[in-house]
């Protein structure tokens, strides 16, 4: 593969490119679902191709093809240069890349069990077992389960001499129980909504999730929501479980720190960011307890944002994003690093596959756990009156990432340190920095989970990427609750 990729580099440089890189990617995936006792879908997929990214006349060009023959690869490289020359006709300044040492490296996701070595029969049996548990609860009208496995092998070479071979595995699993009655649809999901939990692991992730053991409880909660009171509207202290907090981090920290958004590159689609450059190391993003990192290193954990090198050959790094409440860092690339006075990329450029342009993406954007021992039950016990909200049901945030609103599947009203009652349709809303400054308690490491968000969309053409978000249950003071159902 390296030889094939070098054909592209040779043609690109011969045609006048001042920089070129080539990625050959081979992807394999398996997706299995069940619905109400039957297999819903079963599919296997393979895809291999090459992309060539070049700078010519000071501007970018990118072309991709499935054709790995020498003439095909050379034509793709020539096309990338031609496109770059067209780009150069509408530019304000030349592209500048932060320096990066050339590297030759191999990297593979640590995993115990190759997920593709597990028979489809075993996987389907697991899903149908979960389905049976869910539907054994009277009142469940729809049960859905899913298992997903991915393997992506990439060869990266650059005109600066890098040669990186990287193989990433990921797995995901989850289920949802729905209960329709009267004029209401309620649902509960496990371990998380919208596809469950995802990590860069092998099949061992599935074994760790205790999927069957939790199915009946989840189904019973879905039915019980029909008998619960509507979540009250007003201002409350709220406790978010770690999965909901993971999405809160994703939307109100992860996206606004993307430097391409900040610089206006996403203004037409995903939007811009309130985190203008003047706010770096000046903005009090959150309370003193808030410490957030962007960490792509394996030692952070097996998140969907964990890798050895990003897709322009920059090693995985840990960047402090919020330090004791102060805003301290952006997600950057070789092209954008200079805009924040950095002489090296933060290593966050990633592409969905062989035929997509790498762009700045979240790695693992994690809220570090509290340093004082604190369990969720202890946090509840220390709360006089509040709402505990679990598992995301809806999410929305404006295009500068100020105003957000989240809905959760289930809530619990807390009175005098105890769970008083279940409440349905809980939601909360706020302004990003006000919200993070209201944080006054974070549970400690034993409650911390590195969640996977497999479906983060960004870019034109839109690319879907997996990101990681570590979080422990946390409490926020005086938050607006319930406006989602007010007057609609």
């Amino acid at each position: 593969m390296k030889e094939i990729a070098n054909w592209a580099l040779n043609v690109a440089t011969m045609r006048g490119a001042s920089y070129a890189d080539a990625r050959i990617v081979s992807q394999r995936s398996r997706a299995l679902t069940t619905k109400n006792g039957k297999v819903g879908s079963a599919s296997d997929s393979e895809s291999t191709g090459i992309s060539v990214r070049v700078i010519a006349d000071g501007a970018w060009g990118f072309a991709a093809s499935e054709d790995l023959s020498r003439p095909g690869v050379e034509a793709t490289a020539a096309r990338a240069v031609e496109i770059a020359r067209a780009s150069a006709q509408v530019k304000q300044e030349d592209v500048r890349l932060a320096p990066e040492n050339a590297v030759t490296a191999e990297w593979i996701t640590p995993h115990t069990i190759d997920p593709f070595s597990i028979s489809v029969e075993q996987n389907i049996a697991l899903l149908l077992n979960i389905d049976s548990e869910l539907r054994s609860v009277a009142g469940i009208t729809l049960a859905e389960t899913n298992l997903n496995f991915n393997r992506e092998e990439q060869w990266f070479v650059s005109s600066e001499g890098s040669d990186i071979h990287q193989t990433r595995y990921s797995a995901g699993a989850g289920y949802t129980a729905y209960a329709f009655a009267g004029n209401e649809i309620q649902k509960r999901s496990y371990p998380n909504s919208y596809g469950g939990q995802w990590q860069n692991k092998g099949y061992e992730l599935i074994e760790e999730l205790k999927l069957v053991q939790n199915a009946r409880r989840i189904a019973e909660e879905a039915v019980a929501l029909h008998h619960a009171e509507q979540c009250p509207e007003g201002t409350f202290d709220i406790i978010l479980d770690s999965s909901q907090l993971g999405l809160q981090i994703h939307e109100s920290i992860g996206h606004p720190i993307e430097l391409d958004r900040v610089l206006g590159m996403e203004a037409n689609f995903a939007g811009t960011s309130f985190l203008t450059l003047d706010k770096l190391r000046r903005l009090r993003y959150g309370s003193e307890m808030v410490n957030v990192v962007a960490d792509a290193r394996q030692e952070h954990g097996p998140g969907l944002g964990t890798f050895g090198f990003d897709d322009e050959g920059v090693p995985a790094q840990c960047t402090p994003i919020i330090t004791n409440g102060l805003f301290t860092g952006y997600l950057s690339s070789r092209e954008t690093a200079h805009t924040i006075g950095e002489n090296r990329s933060g290593g966050t450029l990633r592409a969905e596959g062989w035929n997509r342009l790498p762009m700045i993406r979240m790695t693992n954007i994690s809220l570090l756990p509290g340093t004082t021992p604190l369990t969720l039950e202890q946090l509840i016990a220390s709360t006089d009156h509040g709402i505990l909200m679990q598992t995301n049901r809806s999410w929305s945030i404006d295009d500068k990432r100020y105003n957000f609103q989240f809905g959760c599947e289930i809530g619990w009203e807390i009175r005098h340190g105890k769970r008083l009652r279940m409440v349905k349709n809980p939601s909360y809303s706020g302004i990003t920095t006000e919200f993070w400054n209201s944080l006054d308690a974070i549970c400690s490491r034993e409650e911390w989970t590195l969640w996977g968000t497999p479906n983060c969309g960004k870019g034109q053409p839109q690319q879907v990427m997996g990101t990681g978000h570590g979080a422990a249950p946390s409490r926020f003071r005086s938050i607006k609750v319930g406006s989602a159902y007010k007057g609609s």
């Binding site: 039957k38 895809s47 990118f62 096309r79 496109i83 053409p461 007057g487 609609s488």
Partner: protein
Amino acid sequence: MEQRRRAFEALRLGARTKEANLPQRHREHREEQDLLSKDQASDIFDRIRKFSTADETEVLISGGRFALTRFANNSIHQNVEDENHVVSVRTVFGGRTARAFTNKFDDDSLRRVVASSESLAKVQHPDSDLLPMPDSREADGSTEKRVQATQSPSRHFAETALITPQLRADSVKKIVDVAEKHKLTTAGIFSSAESVEGIFNSRGLNKWHTQTLAEVSITMLADDSSGWQKANSPDVTNLDPHFLAEVAAKKAIDSAHPAQIPAGKYTVILEPAAVLDIVGFMFWDYSGMAILDQRSFLTGRIGSQLFGENITIWDDVAHPLQTGCPFDGEGMQRQTVPLVENGVVRRVVYARATAERMKRSEQKDKVGPIVPTGHGFALPNEMGEMPVNIVFATPQDSQTLSQMIGSTERGVLVTRLWYIREVDPYEKIVTGMTRDGTFLVQDGQLRQGVRNFRFNQSLIHMLSNVEAMSVPVRASGEESFDMVVPAMKIRDFNFTEVTKF
């Protein structure tokens, strides 16, 4: 996590658009080359069928050439092109079925994808709802009078297929010139695509569709305001990037220094792009499978007066302003289906198997006509079907946008909505934000830009409160798929919060 539209596109024919393959061809001058032809696809199917040991075999082939020039800060900063074709093989053994995908068309790869599909299928449990694959006669016909099979117009235009990076750069230069003339900053895209979709099965069905599409989307940014416009068409000569740039620039200029007005219920005038993005969230529910699953807000409501009498909606792939493939994921011809008539939900769409299940269900007498309508996703899938060519009927007394503004004492004009998500699935409450051009209307005139709102709005209530509509147009947004929709003037639209810009 803005991925809903993408998920829809992936489901449409079940093909994985990110995966690609073509027979090996060498392309110094791609604009002179043809995409995969039906004859080439037919040859691929013949080879797959030879390798297959299944009772039945179906092959979907889709892909094409896609190019996109992206600009921001008055510069082209991304400029991409890729060529994609993918084949997927569905095999059936005694009521058991599965699908496998590849982007390599050599014999070894095709043998492997067939084997993969077969091995997945063989370990399934037999599905009593799985029907034999349709033949051409079944796929083309409908005996039901209210559903009409009509011929779609040609949607392949050479002018669009031949767009080069140079042509896109020239258009972007004109857009940047508009921005610089008005001392604004612009960001956006100019894309072009040429695509094919085909289906072949072992009962002799073979269908093929080719299409082109050009798209321009422009945001104009001022210090504290912005404006936006977007349009697409199979025929690039229908697009006028300069005009769109001027309209977007005027919105940015006119909405400068936005005032903050309180949240609350307002009369709103939604431009067509805003209408399509919000109403798009209900069309997943116009599905027989959604009714059977009891996940649709139409469960128990078909035949009832759910919306205002001025609302009539069709699904019509053949409409001259529509785009898309005239057959579904099993090769069934897409039919023209009246979904809502004068505010009454009349019917939903069906894949073949869903129709058979519904006929046997307890709900069969409560859901209107039950017949396959050609809206199924590729099998196997969990979602069943969905209408994807939505057309709102032209109102008897249509109004222009200016007339709507002129008749409004106090209200809000909305250019575009953003990050819409479902809050309540049965009351169909959705939340989201306004964006890129939100104006206060007072005493029949646009007064000034206002800070953007968050809304929490039931679509049922919204479509019951429509006071005026324009002539429907082809509109494109970012939250839903393209539709033919009017601008709407709506009373009591529920804004719940104001953001900081």
